[in-house]
């Protein structure tokens, strides 16, 4: 082939590749809109302000974890420990407060439990070169154990009034939603505009090349898990305030699956190197709305769970479609 036809040929395959990704993405988008349109027509109070706020609150409390998970997925890792970390943090903060502890200190304690677990995960994976899946699965069990121990497997309730400042509303918008939106914007800028953010994608795309290029891959990997931990801690504060209690079962089994699915719908890949915050948030809104519709339509929780399982299977297949 001469240069010209070679370029043309390269150009065509390029368009095809890009096209495929765009095609998959637009199909996902259109499908999401159709599903939501059909469901919302069936539901009476879907667009009532109360329901919208309700959905937003749900989105924001799980949303913090999907933000952290997006970072971890981008560097090619995974963090399964988040639900356990939240419960351990909540139970520690909760039991401290009902023992008469200061609410500000309690909030800091909740946050630091998140950071400590992020630190453990980060050290084990970045320094110890252990497999992220196994490490975070272990810290999940560890943190669940801590939560059960601290709460003695009972519900911790009667938190001090002051603590509920984290569940206050500015106008009609809960504080948690505002903090979540701020966090999402900051993180989005961080990932797309800063050097360190670019490094996240490079490490996820090809960690060997990143290392040779002079990027401190250990530091980047470590940082991703720390971010995940900080966001888990932050989420835990708002979740505890919203629920008004802390238990060792306060975060449902499906949260991990839901957040992973949300990120992948939004463009992240389990193979690393891909993902963006806005996509993950939209994905999460989609997942939450589906659950919300099931709820309002009176579909049983277990049937809803089964359907969600199928949706997640479909989503993982989307990941395959996008990358091959």
């Amino acid at each position: 082939m001469n240069t010209q036809s070679k370029q043309l040929f390269g150009g065509i395959t390029n368009i095809l590749r890009e096209d495929r990704k765009i095609r998959v993405n637009s199909i996902v988008g259109v499908l999401a809109v159709i599903i939501l349109a059909v469901l919302s027509c069936q539901v009476k109070n879907f667009f009532s302000i109360q329901n919208v706020i309700n959905v937003l609150e749900q989105v924001s409390s799980v949303g913090f974890f999907s933000l952290g998970l997006t970072c971890v997925l981008i560097i090619g890792g995974i963090d399964l420990s988040v639900p356990g970390v939240i419960m351990a943090a909540s139970c520690l903060g909760g039991s401290y407060m009902i023992g008469g502890g200061n609410w500000i200190l309690a909030a800091l304690m909740i946050l630091s439990v998140g950071i400590i677990f992020g630190f453990i995960n980060g050290i084990a994976i970045a320094k110890g070169k252990m497999i992220p899946f196994i490490v975070t699965l272990s810290t999940l069990v560890l943190s669940q154990g801590i939560a059960a121990y601290l709460s003695a497997s009972a519900t911790i309730y009667g938190l001090p009034e002051d603590f509920f400042i984290f569940n206050a509303k500015i106008g009609i918008v809960p504080v948690g939603v505002i903090v979540f939106v701020l966090a999402a914007i900051l993180l989005s800028i961080f990932l797309s505009r800063t050097k360190t953010g670019r490094c996240f994608f490079m490490v996820g795309e090809n960690i060997e090349t990143a290392r040779i290029s002079g990027i401190n891959t250990t530091k980047i990997t470590f940082l991703a898990y720390i971010i995940s931990g900080v966001l888990a801690g932050t989420g835990a504060i708002f979740l505890t305030a919203r629920l008004g209690t802390a238990t060792a079962t306060m975060v449902g089994d499906t949260v991990t699956n839901d957040t992973i699915a949300a990120c992948i719908i939004g463009g992240a890949s389990l193979n690393g190197g891909q993902g963006n915050i806005i996509g993950s948030v939209l994905g999460l809104i989609f997942i939450t709305l589906i659950a919300n519709c099931f709820n309002l339509l009176g579909i049983s929780y277990y049937v809803g769970m089964a359907i969600k399982g199928l949706i997640i299977m479909a989503v993982i297949y989307i990941d395959v479609l996008r990358s091959h």
Binding site: T3, S5, K6, T194, C199
Partner: protein, 498 residues
């Protein structure tokens, strides 16, 4: 006799093959040559049943064949020997050979290992390979694994055997073995098709040749009627320029990098070297002599005990930690897909990836994408990278252009030491010359280049000084006119004897 006559194939409106006719005869080796994208792979993929031709016929022993899948081709006795064959590492050689058709014992679910061993050793004996059928695959050297794939092809009754760039990961010694095997296959009256970039090999092993360019046949004929320069002219359509050899005397130049006493498990036994400004320092040795390991040890990529590293800082040689060296050198690695590129990122992100600090905006420290793109456009022009624009994803570039992007990345970083490990591997003849020019240019600008290559011509054309590495030790040093094919070959073969 295998004939592919008047084969044409279009992809998305682009003619990949245009009326190509190929004839291969029993007991002869046909060399198929052409640059990347000339249509060799497409032609072979049609023969292998991967693609279907738009026009033309495949005729084997007077029988017209139609392939709808690779299995059809396999059943007609057409076998591919791949560049890097895939195996089950924890199984035995015999099991790997018969993996698609295991011998069963009387109990239908149990394999008949004894029979497999016997059959396998029979075929291994035909090729006089030094491999035992009961050995585990993981214990077999990479270079010998190809023999196993050849045996696999023979046991399946293959009559047409296609070698696709078989020597690119072989040492000289292993290459000799492969050629011996191919000559044995010739005696067995097999039809052999041999694809390679290395014209020396084509001249050495082939009886006939077919040159493709831009999907068209350029010429075919007998190897004995042609020579290397003829072939290369046919391949690129014009006389290729080899860089004029211009070795410089580096005795008086300033040293910029000094390495002492590098050890690496049992591969390196105390290597010292000094790299000077403006010189291309070659490291010549066989595969397995510790070339790549030496570089990785110097750069601190593999943890090794001992070894000191000094760098020139304003005229003073200062000791630095080995890990720090990586920050000040440009390292073009042996396997660009493994550790050289971000394949699904655009060209511009690859080019700036080692020098991102330079593209931070003043106030917010955000990455200035516009600046990155325009700098990349400059490199595209400077290094003659063939790509429509800086936004194309790297996976869509040819090997030579990908390699140039890696050079651009290190030049952008402003490295004053370049370490090149097989810089033109898997790169076609045209792009190779471009890369050689880049390397020369770098050296003339005062950069010290450490060059590792298995290609004798490349070493002769580029190096100002050559260190001979043998069994983990530097045994000799060549400079000036002593750097020639005969000397380098001599040292390479010496290494084999020991």
């Amino acid at each position: 006799m295998l004939t592919m006559s008047s084969i044409s194939k279009k992809f998305q409106g682009v003619r990949a093959l245009d009326n190509v006719t190929m004839a291969a005869k029993e007991g002869r080796v046909l060399g198929l040559v052409g640059i990347n994208g000339a249509g060799k792979s497409t032609l072979m993929n049609i023969l292998g049943g991967v693609f279907k031709q738009d026009n033309g016929k495949i005729i084997l022993n007077n029988k017209e064949l139609t392939f709808n899948s690779p299995i059809d081709a396999y059943n007609e006795g057409i076998a591919f020997i791949h560049q890097e064959p895939q195996f089950f590492l924890t199984l035995t050689v015999a099991e790997n050979i018969f993996i698609s058709d295991l011998y069963m014992s009387k109990f239908p679910i149990v394999t008949d290992k004894k029979k497999m061993m016997q059959e396998a050793s029979k075929y291994l004996a035909v090729l006089s390979a030094d491999i035992k059928p009961q050995q585990l695959l993981e214990d077999i050297a990479i270079g010998q694994r190809q023999v196993i794939e050849i045996v696999r092809a023979l046991t399946s009754g293959a009559n047409v055997i296609i070698f696709d760039e078989p020597t690119s990961s072989l040492s000289l010694n292993e290459k000799d073995n492969l050629f011996r095997t191919i000559r044995k296959l010739k005696k067995e009256e097999k039809i052999i098709i041999y694809i390679s970039h290395f014209l020396d090999e084509i001249i050495d092993i082939c009886d006939d040749y077919l040159v493709l360019r831009d999907g068209k046949m350029v010429q075919s004929g007998l190897i004995k009627d042609t020579d290397k320069s003829d072939l290369s002219r046919m391949i690129i359509g014009q006389e290729i320029d080899r860089l004029e050899r211009a070795s410089i005397n580096t005795d008086n130049k300033e040293t910029i990098l000094k390495v002492e006493n590098v050890y690496h498990s049992n591969l390196l036994h105390g290597v010292d070297l000094e790299l000077k400004k403006s010189e291309v320092l070659g490291i010549w040795g066989l595969m397995g002599s510790g070339r790549t390991e030496l570089v990785r040890a110097i750069l601190g990529l593999d943890r090794v005990p001992g070894g000191k590293c000094y760098m020139n800082e304003n005229g003073q040689m200062k000791e630095i930690k080995k890990a720090e060296l990586l920050r000040s050198v440009g390292y073009v690695t042996e396997g660009r897909h493994f550790d050289g590129l971000f394949l699904s990122m655009p060209v511009w992100k690859n080019v700036t990836s080692a020098n991102m600090n330079a593209y931070k905006s003043k106030k917010l420290k955000f990455m200035d994408n516009k600046k990155e793109r325009s700098k990349t456009e400059k490199f595209i022009e400077l290094l003659n990278i063939k790509v429509p624009d800086a936004n194309v994803r790297l996976a869509n570039l040819s090997g030579g252009n990908q390699q140039k992007v890696i050079f651009a990345k290190w030049i952008d970083k402003g490295a004053d030491i370049f370490i090149l490990d097989e810089p033109t591997r898997g790169v076609d003849v045209g792009a190779k010359l471009g890369i050689h020019k880049i390397i020369r240019n770098l050296a003339s600008q005062g950069i010290g280049v450490l060059l590792i290559t298995s290609e004798i011509d490349e070493m002769v054309d580029l190096a100002d000084r050559v260190l001979i590495l043998c069994n983990g030790e530097i045994v000799s040093e060549l400079s000036g006119n002593d750097i020639n094919n005969a000397n380098l070959m001599h040292f390479a073969l010496e290494g084999v004897k020991e």
